[in-house]
Symmetry: none
Subunit: 401 residues, 2 copies
Amino acid sequence: MDSLNLIKDISKPSPTKIVLLVIDGVGGLPSPKTGKTELETADTPNLDQLATKGTCGLIDPVSRGITPGSAPGHLALFGYDPLSFSIGRGVLEAMGIDFDLKPGDIAARGNFCTVDEAGLVIDRRAGRISTEKCTKLCQLLDGLVIEGVKLFVCPVKEHRFITVFRGKGLTPEVSDSDPQQVGVAPRVITALNPQADMMAAIAAQFIAQARTILSKHHPANMVLLRGFSQRPHFSTMGEIYKLKPAAIAGYPMYRGLAKLVGMQVLETGASIKEEFATLKQNYTDYDFFFLHIKGTDSAGEDGDFDRKVRIIEEVDDALPSLTSLEPDVIVVTGDHSTPALLKGHSWHPLPILLYSKWCRPDRVGEFSESACIFGGLGRFPATQIMPLAMANALKLNKFGA
Amino acid sequence: MDSLNLIKDISKPSPTKIVLLVIDGVGGLPSPKTGKTELETADTPNLDQLATKGTCGLIDPVSRGITPGSAPGHLALFGYDPLSFSIGRGVLEAMGIDFDLKPGDIAARGNFCTVDEAGLVIDRRAGRISTEKCTKLCQLLDGLVIEGVKLFVCPVKEHRFITVFRGKGLTPEVSDSDPQQVGVAPRVITALNPQADMMAAIAAQFIAQARTILSKHHPANMVLLRGFSQRPHFSTMGEIYKLKPAAIAGYPMYRGLAKLVGMQVLETGASIKEEFATLKQNYTDYDFFFLHIKGTDSAGEDGDFDRKVRIIEEVDDALPSLTSLEPDVIVVTGDHSTPALLKGHSWHPLPILLYSKWCRPDRVGEFSESACIFGGLGRFPATQIMPLAMANALKLNKFGA
């Protein structure tokens, strides 16, 4: 029996409430000047108090050494093994701009690129055109209909866009046109199985039409497509955990991930204060809340150690508005580390803090990477957070007699 | 290769001896008054001395967040993955009263219940009749023969009994008659595959006869059956570990579990002193001993913090009679936590202590939940205890060249 089926068998509804506070990219690396990470530098009296009352540990989102993207990082937090449950690149990109993918839609990620007269790719990013320019070019391509299949072409950022193919009988098993290198022609899109012949043909026609339409728009005179995919079907958190879950997230990508696992996505302002206010306003209506803080990850990606420290302190300031609601279980963690020193996601484990009336407190009195090593939760895969939270909320029956 | 097959391949017989002391439900939660768990409150100089000489850690019987029943908890201790090896409810109940199940027997758990004139269940437990009353009613049903199948009906406790069907060609794949709710009729037992048609028909006839026989015995005027199952076949501990294992347990359920994995169940008194005396008397004849202490779990289930503390102290008092035998490996742990505060089994990890001449001592000098966090064994699944014990007894060959 796999672990999701086990949980599905023993989970039960109850009036208790769980709040999962995800501080995106919270884990860091020590500043060479002070020897302290962003989290250790930040003044966090409220998190430290909760760590004292609760129990701490370290989590690995995928496994030791693996740096997760946002999708696998979050799927693991929601209890879905990111090695079994995957989301295609096209779908992820569509979710990132809040595109409402319907069942059967095929999404692909696109780049505007530059080709020379011989048709060879000379710049895969068309000189990183502005988002504004990208938006105008997308308007030229959006709304095409090819053999009854309707195309949506929507800007993402700079040279990046998405194409969504909506029609009957489409399947996503086709190869990419993006050659991932310069000096060669875009690849011909081919069907990876006979059912995908129609998808390959339509994609090829779209690319041919796009080349004609874009011919006068150098450097953005061609498109490259990759990551053809369909919105996957996952068992929802309602089905698995018998929860009524809600998501509070300012960024489309995280709202999309939450939708995919069946959460109700709440309307919210994107600031930390507004997100915590949204929690308070909706607190009576749900029994599970995913509250997502984006700023820590963005600051880490920008290599801005001090800004990341300030955002962590801002979360700490807001924490009493969460604890005063007295949820039965509070989990504070992240989806991966984003050390400012690395300017990107990393493989380092994440600190986690779990508080409930029924947790077994340990000797950790500080929410930090180095203190959590000694926590009572030990070091464990992020996929086990949900079972632990459910147990602490007394929402799981005994397994076996 | 799964881990049991790995161990089977590399295990070897040797004269060294292992004692596995299972203090049932030993893990707890801190008293709000003192901040100390039952184990931390108990005065345990002998366990603490053994922890000082040995190495400690924390175990998860199934996985984080999962509260195990006694069967999965013990199967894990014996090295059998409780998610792969399961025991049906009927068989477990039969083992709990020491019923000698033969190969081919089908056991079901039964309830005496109350039905109204329309045949609807109005009390699934027949007002929790006394065990004495249950025994008398079982005598009315015991010994029936239906189409050549002999029935055994034996009391368990209060309204609970078991029915064992002994005959040729019976298979357990039939549905329950227990509707698990009141206000509805008992469910019709149906075959879940064609091979089980005969079992379903005989169970239906038994229920019809029972209803007639019990008609004047309101409130116990009907029976409900569930958990039809057959004694599973597991590779024995002798086959896997090349051990000659013995079990010392005062309660039938644990003797039954030990039998299922091929242990010799020793005659013993049920008190702690008597169990330790049984170990001494039989020490030369076996090379593995499972010594089971029940009282800690019962006290936890009763919510009696102080009684649990006293029983732990009693075990500690008896420990020198074990250590004086100088077993090569001593493991002390439990099958799950039973915090008095929760009055039941829980998901919290268990402290474990392993002593052998060849263990690598750590800095833990106290057998307690909070101290074992820092132990050299780390935190690990209970299924890995047996390989560790075997290794420390020098009963495992090198894996690979």
